[in-house]
Amino acid sequence: MRALGIILAGGNNNRMRELSNKRAIAAMPVAGSYRAIDFALSNMANSHIQKVAVLTQYNARSLNEHLSSSKWWDFGRKQGGLFVFTPTITKENSLWYQGTADAIYQNITFLKNSHEPYVVIASGDGIYKLDYNKVLEFHIAKRADITVVCTECKDQSEVERFGVLRMNDDCRIEEFEEKPIVSSYNTVSTGIYVIRRRQLIELLERTAQEGRHDFVNDILIRYKNLKRIYGYKIDSYWSNISTADAYYRTNMAFLDPEIRNYFFRQEPAVKTKIDDLPPAKYNAGAVVKNSLVASGCIINGTVENSVLFKDVFVGNNCVIKNSVILNDVYLGDNTHIENCIVESRDTIRAGSNYCANDGEVKIVVEKNERYVI
């Protein structure tokens, strides 16, 4: 493909509540076996993009570790590869990334030294499958300066989390509002853009000169009427996990056989780093209903309508319902958990009780000493 990829994975969001304390949103575990960034990365690889830069600065360690070996994604390396760019001090600059546009601007030599004519920019917190070549074809056909991938937001109350836009019949974007308080439209930006590389360099340099740093406000909205900005609408599954509620809902969505089939069975596959874990083990007394269970789990109790990530231990007589249990959690005997997200590496003491009302989501962060198993 004649494009290079940039994944913006620096973000953090208070609405993730405690979940974002220890990692960037792009590093959040999703659907039992994945991390959020796997979806954007797999889309890049499956669209035959050979060269991808991941820009990150917040709690970069866990993301870095996840990406450390590009071999899982099979990006060519002689002719491209996977680059992780954290901020660095140079003669000219010694600031952190001050916004999405600035993050790319600080790595502008990567853009300048490339020869691919187009750039696909994606955020690391979207859960979706997309062949970016389709977007690029549209982009070229429309002779667009920037193409914004957008989708219909079904839930009006969710609209305010996103950039909201209105297109004309030719799909050219006529209005664009970032996170409006009220909006009469429900077409939202997915944070995926296609743009010509030289165009991007020019816009970034101009924006930096003006002391501006944000891709949406300072480029998309500011240049809305000066540049040909188009919207490419998708109607396949797309979800953004950047609030705790959305994160919970997205994980639960994988209990739906259609969504599971779409992501797990249909080509192209979503790739991730392989962990070396044994198969899940169900001991006598395990009762598991309508749940996803990742490898390495050992289950002795009851699990219903839940997603168990890797290496979860469920003690005897536990009852886990409507919950998302992240990696490497130890649940002591007789624990009762309902409507919760349990943070990874938690150790829950035997007999604990964490329940939220239906429709609410409680986040459990507990760091007790782990029993020796």
Binding site: A31, G32, S33, Y34, K71, L255, R260, F263, F264, A269, V270, K271, T272, I274, D275, D276, P278, P279, A280, K281, Y282, N283, A284, A286, V287, V288, K289, N290, S291, L292, V293, A294, S295, G296, I298, I299, V307, L308, F309
Partner: protein, 426 residues
């Protein structure tokens, strides 16, 4: 100019393992699935990297494709190295003579050049068909401490079974004073595990001296030759879990042992991980109607029926109203709704129809290979297809795409076999 390596491993993975019947019809024994997501060869390979050995030659001969694909460039075992790493060593054409491997030592001899380039101090000889965890570095320390020429890993076996093994008699220092190959009256219960550390000059000299020995074998020729010469052979006693999965019965048993609450052979230990090629990623799904009672289930499996005391591989689909008991189902197999099986081994990529019954009826010895298809097990070879509504007895074997006509009165009686044509992959 290769980097010198202190110890390299040579892993013998060429054997067919014919006592595993249809399971090894299309793959070598080391490539047979084990424990839900592993293959047998994962155990010695993981032992290597866990013991700090980063150069492993894998000697293949029989049906190596699955093994090649599985090993690939060694990424899962961290053996994808610029120097060393894992190398598959099949027989090859030479300018003077070209031959297949004719025996264990002959196979090693034909790869002298491979070993030579690493200029090792020690060579570890392994076989690819046992389930165990062993720190070869500790064995090497033992070898060095004894100034041994050859160290042979041995384990105590019940004296009444000793006559099935190569038996070592040692003096009080552990030095081997005698050995007996499958003796009628064993003088000791220390059985060789087929794992040897050789000091490299000793191995090289012996291989070259015995190069014209036909079917040259370690147990039968190399060890006696070296002992004859007065070299220092030591027995290294191992007391952990070690299982030869050479028969359908022992293979089935070893799988079932993993289901115990804390099994004797524990896959869940952090400090000695077993690595394998993990190409299937998604979590498994257990439906609202499913029962998962004492079992291991691999990635990507979907369980809609009942599973009791069984080992289910990755990507297996078990339909509604199935009842699976005491069985092993390997990766990618699909079990139709309403199927019931007791004590069956289903190989990879098998498709079983609806309302099939496996393992029913009285036991009867197998008519073709009574010693292979025994233990009351129904065995189905890889890529087989079984049509709806048939009944299959005990000690049976099925391979290929079977159709209702293969089952007279809808039944394959205990002790019978079907060998049908392969599917479109053949």
């Amino acid at each position: 100019m290769m980097m010198k390596k202190e110890m390299i491993a040579m892993l013998l993975a060429g054997g067919q393992g014919s006592r595993l019947g249809v399971l090894t019809e299309k793959v070598a024994k080391p490539a047979v699935a084990f424990g839900g997501k592993y293959r047998i060869i994962d155990f010695p390979l993981s032992n290597c990297i866990n013991s700090g050995i980063d150069t492993v030659g894998v000697l293949t001969q029989y049906q190596p494709l699955r093994l090649n694909t599985h090993i690939g460039i060694g990424i899962p075992w961290d053996l994808d190295r610029n120097e060393g790493g894992v190398t598959v060593l099949p027989p090859y054409e030479k300018s003077t003579n070209s031959e297949w491997y004719t025996g264990t030592a002959n196979a090693i001899f034909q790869n002298l050049d491979y070993m030579e380039q690493y200029n090792p101090d020690y060579v570890l000889i392994l076989s690819g068909d046992h389930i165990y965890k062993m720190d070869y570095e500790v064995m090497l320390d033992f070898h060095k401490a004894n100034k041994a020429d050859i160290t042979i890993a041995c384990m105590p076996v019940p004296i009444e079974e000793a006559s099935r093994f190569g038996i070592m008699v040692t003096d009080e220092t552990g030095r081997v004073t005698e050995f007996e190959e499958k003796p009628e009256k064993p003088s000791s219960n220390l059985a060789s595990m087929g794992i040897y550390i050789f000091s490299w000059p000793v191995l090289k000299e012996a291989l070259i001296s015995l190069k014209d020995q036909s079917s040259c074998d370690f147990g039968k020729h190399i060890l006696p030759y070296c002992k004859e010469k007065g070299q220092r052979l030591f027995a290294y006693e191992y007391n952990g879990y070690w299982k030869d999965v050479g028969t359908l019965g022992s293979y089935w048993e070893a799988n079932m042992e993993l289901i115990d609450i804390i099994p004797e052979f524990n896959l869940y230990e952090e400090f000695w991980k077993i690595y394998t090629r993990g190409d299937i990623i998604p979590p498994q799904y257990v439906s609202a109607d499913a029962v998962t009672d004492r079992c291991l289930i691999g990635e990507g499996a979907e369980i809609y029926g009942e599973v009791h005391r069984s080992v289910i591989g990755p990507n297996v689909i078990i339909g509604k109203d199935c009842v699976i008991r005491d069985s092993i189902i390997m990766r990618n197999s699909v079990i139709g709704e309403g199927t019931v099986m007791d004590k069956a081994i289903i190989a990879e990529d098998v498709v079983i129809g609806r309302n099939v019954t496996l393992g029913c009826g009285e036991e009867a010895p197998n008519v073709l290979k009574p010693s292979v298809y025994a233990f009351g097990i129904a065995t189905v070879g890889e890529r087989s297809v079984i049509p709806d509504n048939v009944k299959i007895g005990k000690n049976t074997a099925i391979s290929g795409v079977t159709v209702p006509e293969d089952y007279p009165e809808g039944m394959l009686k205990s002790g019978q076999n079907i060998k049908a044509k392969d599917g479109d992959k053949a």
